[in-house]
């Protein structure tokens, strides 16, 4: 990476990040619109969770990763502490890989 490339990525990323809060300031949104925004953020997060647990690049990520995430998700659903959720997911995935499951 050249310094110029790093700075370009930084400037672009910052502009993207700043745009939301600034736009939000300029316009007063009705309650329903605000509710829709936060639903949209949840939808984006779930899409991110799905792609980052099931795919690597353009391919299937293998079984170890989604199984670990699913076990963590199940623990979260049963209201396990957050720390346990994170550790369980990593441990299950690492364990499966150690056992030879990709």
């Amino acid at each position: 990476m050249t310094v110029l490339a790093v700075l370009a990525l930084a400037a672009g990323t910052y502009a993207i990040r700043l745009a939301g809060p600034l736009l939000r300031d300029r316009i007063t949104l009705p309650d329903r619109a605000r509710e829709l925004m936060s639903i949209a953020a949840t939808v984006l997060l779930v899409a991110l969770i799905a792609t980052s647990s099931l795919t690597r690049g353009a391919h299937f990520a293998g079984f170890a990763l989604p199984i670990g995430v699913a076990v963590g998700g199940l623990a979260a659903w049963r209201r396990a502490p957050f720390v346990l959720v994170v550790v369980l997911a990593a441990a299950v995935t690492a364990g499966l890989r150690f056992a030879g499951v990709s």
Binding site: V43, V46, V92
Partner: protein, 226 residues
Amino acid sequence: MRSTWRTPDPALLRDVLAIAASVAVSGASFGAIAVGSGEPWWIPSLMSVVVFAGGAQFMAVGIVAAGGSPVAAVLAGLLLNLRFLPFGLAVGEVLGRSPVGKLVGSHLLTDETVAFALAQREPARARTAFWLCGGTLFVAWNAGVVGGTLVGRSIGDPAVFGLDAAFPAALLALVLPALRDRPTLRAALVGAVVALATTPFVPAGVPVLLGLVGMLALRLPVPVRR
């Protein structure tokens, strides 16, 4: 508006520290991978301070390491980060009213900070969660990267520790409460399917944005029985 700040409770602090630990190890692997692929020692650190977006950083360094041009690396990283725009629209309020708060807080918009803020019911708690999480993760990520560049390749592949599962699982735990709302759940599931189905065909970062199509599911008639 400035009085709405809550002292962070121990539970919130503990959750933030849990995710900070995994972010620090990811940062260390980023530093190690970047230096290992031939970058000078200061590039990963500079990048981590000014870009502060793990996914885009891994991707940009990976593209250059694979022989891609810096321009391609920058464009791919920006595409991946485009989701921060809707995120900023959704949680913009937690940054507060002051211009300084907005300028600094915007840099701390990440998947984790947004998820932490959204998971809180009251605005005051959301604000505390956002700033606590953002500040802690910024320190953890950058400290991890410095450590990784120093230790170098001996850290190895973070996948061995299953850290790639920690990130989605943490986000999942944070969004679960919001998914108890049926229409939100429906929109999110449709969005996830769209994102997964389009992943093989479009550049990284685009599938997640296409997941917004799931918002249309909010308009679907609700089945009478389920």
